[in-house]
């Protein structure tokens, strides 16, 4: 077996992905691409009001329309008790999930699902939606997080009494929870500071913006078993949520993950999946529900908008002596914003003795937030990294040097609890400082910014099954939807471990009935955790192959080694045998014990935290406020890059999303609380001409808990860009931008006011 110290043959290379041809020819089947015989079209009626009591829903006319086969509403979902379960990096409450799928009693945001129909054509389904009469009593609404916290704000949930404060308030409010995190004593810390900088910030809610809308096809059989096909980051978690909502035995629901057209966290929960199942159960026919883009923006995602305050104290030599933050995140209509990880991440990159962070999880009349790439971290770290930039300027210190002076290292006690193992933050800073980008000259109206980011990364439950085919090729099944090339990474790790050609491994994503429970694709966990299951299965196969070779040669298994893809005699004493390939052994499997197969099931612990440091040059048009990103370099500790090009791709894509977050993306509401920009025309994600090439620089500080040293990669790169761009704009115009997005009207106003 390839030991981890041996020279690597596949890891770190960039072979063509196994599912690639299907994706460049249009053959790959995404969520909306499945059609079943007799399939109906499902459509969802949504609230046009931000906040309204639903006095009645009359579906009789819709039901009477020829071609309509089922109509459902909240009455078709059993009421759930409040119960929190893990969902990616966040938590999910079944009671709230049920009420989010179909509004119960009240509609809590523009776009909240109220009823759904299944009909024989899309046109009939649309007509049926028009025939559903909903009697609303419009209530006052609240969109802004700080307005929602005000004592006189309209209250969304009459039974919400702030958690985390003693005594528990006797009046309901929109503050679901208060969170406190810290170490040391910030008062003492600030007292020792030579310089204190504090600032308030605002960030806008932003959507994950995956190009493929949510889509599901459900088919219920008369015996209560059902099949579900959907675009999801986790078909096992989707199965759990849907079974719970429909009152099914989990094993009665078989979920197949379609190819997934982007998720970024937004497809870790369910929206249309239970609706398709409810409609199919009622209609007795397969039902497909596909969101429109308008529905995606109004009713799925986004991540929180927030109001934050950060205060940092340093001594004149640049040592941070205290850091304090207050983070107010809006959660959307139901509790569960990512403010907790935001609080934990805020100061995590730094070794600071005194830290105090207070967080608020606040409900507002907006869609319930969903996970988005390192949920919570970009919002908090944007504020901290912006203040650090200001600190560096005031100290007259290079901003990278300031960070180097305070960077968390192996052994640092993180403010959120643990002691760091081997981490690569310092290495990313050193690489940034040494990069030619950092010392390249700048022109007029141009500025350069740097900022860093931290994310935990997670592990968790994963399974892998590996079957040796008769010709010696292998089928590798995992339960992790492949969102950006993970099949290739799985094949690489299997080939490396077995010492075989990567082209001999055919990785697939198996459905929920064909493999053991595998947690969703999120938390940057797949290459780490599912990768560990794949390596484990590969080792089992190698072991089995040794056994079979021993049988063929009729020698002791101890006398057989597995090396470079061949069973070989361990030494001269073992006998003189020609090495056997997997194919040779597979051909004789029937005679040596039957099919060769392995299964690994594990809960991966010890995900290595990830750090990144970004450098950005911008040019600001002083007459219009337009910001152009001229050059961008993103440096990240990846532990070990398995598929180099896809690791770079994660870094580049994360940085691009962060640039969009920094400059133009935002949810815009009108005075009635209706979303004013539910489309790609006015929700402005970066287009190709908005961006320069994004140079991804991979730093490798191995994570010791993974056989090849892998750390999660996908989330860290979205954290630094907002502060990186803000710091670059400050460099160009001498004005500190504190509100996202830093769109042209805001930049021009800031220039004019010389703030």
């Amino acid at each position: 077996m390839a030991s981890e110290n041996q020279e690597l043959k596949w890891i770190g290379t960039s072979p063509v992905r196994p599912d690639g041809t299907d994706k460049v020819t249009g053959r790959a089947k995404f969520g909306a691409d499945l059609m079943l015989p007799g399939m109906l079209t499902g459509k969802i009626l949504r609230s046009p009001h931000a906040h309204a009591k639903i006095k009645s829903i009359d579906t009789s006319k819709a039901e009477a329309l020829p071609g309509v086969k089922a109509v459902v509403s909240a009455a078709d979902i059993a009421e759930m008790p409040s119960e929190w379960v893990p969902a990616g990096e966040l938590q999910l409450n079944y009671r709230d999930l049920a009420s989010n799928i179909m509004a119960r009693g009240k509609a809590l945001y523009d776009g909240h699902a109220v009823a759904a129909v299944a009909a024989t054509s899309a046109a009939i389904a649309d007509a049926a939606l028009d025939l559903i009469a909903v009697d609303y009593e419009v209530l006052p609404h609240v969109i802004d997080v700080e307005e929602a916290m005000a004592p006189d704000a309209p209250v969304l949930h009459e039974d919400m009494f702030t958690e985390g404060v003693t005594p528990t308030p006797d009046k309901p409010s929109n503050i679901f929870k208060e969170i406190d995190i810290g170490i040391g004593d910030v008062e003492t810390g600030f007292a020792a500071a030579d310089l204190i900088v504090e600032r308030s910030f605002k960030t806008a809610p932003v959507h994950q913006g995956y190009i493929e809308p949510h889509a599901a096809v459900a088919s219920f059989a008369e015996d209560g078993q059902a099949e579900l096909w959907c675009s999801t980051q986790g078909h096992f978690t989707a199965r759990a949520y849907c079974a719970k909502l429909l009152g099914m035995d989990v094993s009665d629901l078989r979920v197949t993950a379609s190819e997934i057209g982007g998720g970024f966290g937004g497809k870790t929960t369910v929206y249309v999946e239970p609706v398709a199942l409810l409609l199919s159960r009622k209609a007795g026919r397969p039902v497909r529900v596909v969101m429109t883009r308008d529905e995606v923006f109004r009713a799925s995602g986004p991540t929180s908008g927030a109001a934050n305050w950060v205060k940092i104290g340093v001594t004149n030599d640049g040592k941070i002596v205290a850091g304090e933050a207050v983070l107010k995140y809006q959660a959307g209509a139901f509790p569960g914003s990512p403010v907790q990880p935001g609080c934990m991440c805020a100061f995590a990159p730094y070794d600071i003795e005194n830290v105090k962070v207070k967080g608020y999880d606040v409900v507002t009349n907006r869609p319930k937030v969903a996970a988005y790439r390192a949920p919570g971290a970009p919002i908090a770290e944007h504020a901290v990294e912006s203040v650090l930039d200001e600190v560096a300027k005031k100290l007259g210190m290079d901003p990278i040097e300031l960070r180097q002076k305070n960077a968390a290292r192996e052994g640092t006690n993180a403010a959120y609890g643990p002691k760091f193992g081997p981490i690569g933050y310092a290495e990313t800073l050193a690489a940034a400082k040494a990069h030619p980008h950092y010392s390249a000259p700048l022109g007029p109206n141009q500025g350069r910014g740097v900022a860093s980011g931290f994310w935990f990364n997670v592990g968790g439950d994963s399974c892998a099954t590996m079957n040796v085919s008769e010709d010696g090729t292998l089928v590798l099944a995992t339960g992790s939807p492949d969102i950006g090339g993970s099949r290739a990474s799985m094949a690489i790790m299997a080939a490396e471990t077995l010492g075989i050609d990567v082209a001999d491994v055919r990785p697939i994503v198996a459905d929920t009935a064909s493999l053991g429970y595998t947690f969703l694709t999120g938390g940057s966990r797949v290459t780490f955790a599912t990768g560990m299951a794949v390596i484990e299965a590969s080792k089992q196969i190698a072991e089995e192959l040794r056994q079979r070779a021993a049988k063929i040669w009729d020698i002791s298994v101890d006398a057989v080694v597995w090396e470079d893809g061949y069973a070989k005699p361990a030494g001269a004493n073992a006998g003189d045998f020609e090495p056997l390939s997997i194919g040779d052994i597979a051909a004789q499997a029937g005679k040596t014990g039957g099919p060769i197969s392995a299964n690994a099931a594990l809960n991966a612990q010890g995900a290595g935290p990830g750090f990144g440091t970004h450098i950005c040059d911008v040019e600001v048009d002083p007459e219009t406020g337009r910001v152009t990103v001229l050059r961008y370099t993103a440096i990240q500790d990846c532990g070990k890059a398995i598929h180099k090009a896809y690791v770079e791709g994660q870094i580049q894509g994360g940085a691009a999303q962060g640039i969009g977050w920094a400059l133009n993306e935002e949810y815009i509401y009108d005075e009635k609380g209706r979303l004013d920009n539910p489309g790609f025309l006015d929700y402005r994600i970066p287009v190709a001409s908005d961006l320069p090439m994004i140079e991804a620089v991979i730093v490798e500080v191995a994570n010791p808990t993974h056989p090849y040293g892998v750390r999660g990669v996908g989330e860290v790169p979205i954290i630094p860009p907002m502060a990186t761009v803000a710091n670059a704009i400050e460099g160009a115009i001498g004005v500190r931008m504190t509100e996202l997005p830093m769109s042209p009207p805001k930049v021009l106003a800031a220039l004019d006011n010389g703030r």
């Binding site: 909306a32 995956y210 190009i211 057209g261 090009a645 790609f680 961006l691």
Partner: protein, 158 residues
């Protein structure tokens, strides 16, 4: 609702279909002809995932009616490879890892092919502006632009 009978050419094949007047060309391709390689990302011409060519012109198939196809020639992603041979752009996208989730890829390939037919030697900026109507949320465009530029160079050299 009377359906319209349309005779057209799709990927070089004479094709007939029936469609409702309000059905878009994208609806027809996907739902009537089962050519699901063209994707609906927005339905309003803002994302380019449904890109096809119409008499050689790049368009969003969500912004054309199925009925308009009468007598015209449509090319979709399903017609890009020739038999077993991928188009050089398809091959280059694979080699460059110029796709992650892959849902925007058919549209981008169709758009890039239309570009190289019109301009075999585009600058980086020309590629970026030509593809501005093709949203990709995964890659940050870097590897896509490189793949197109390198493919253009290869094709010029060939």
């Amino acid at each position: 609702m009377a359906k319209i009978h349309v005779t057209t050419t799709i990927n070089g094949e004479p094709t007939e279909f029936l469609c409702e007047p309000q059905q878009t060309l994208l609806d027809v391709l996907r739902d009537e002809l089962r050519l699901t390689g063209s994707k609906e990302g927005c339905g309003t011409g803002d994302c380019g995932a449904c890109s096809v060519t119409f008499d050689g012109r790049l368009i969003c198939s969500c912004l054309a009616l199925g009925a308009e196809a009468e007598g015209h020639e449509i090319e979709t992603i399903e017609g890009m490879a020739e038999g077993e041979n991928l188009h050089p752009l398809q091959q280059k996208f694979l080699e460059h890892a110029a796709l992650q989730c892959g849902v925007c890829t058919p549209g981008i390939l169709i758009a890039a092919k239309a570009l190289l037919e019109k301009n075999p030697d585009p600058s980086e900026s020309e590629v970026r502006y030509w593809l501005a109507g093709n949203l990709c949320r995964c890659t940050g465009y870097d590897k896509i632009i490189r793949a197109v530029l390198e493919c253009a160079a290869d094709m010029r050299g060939a």
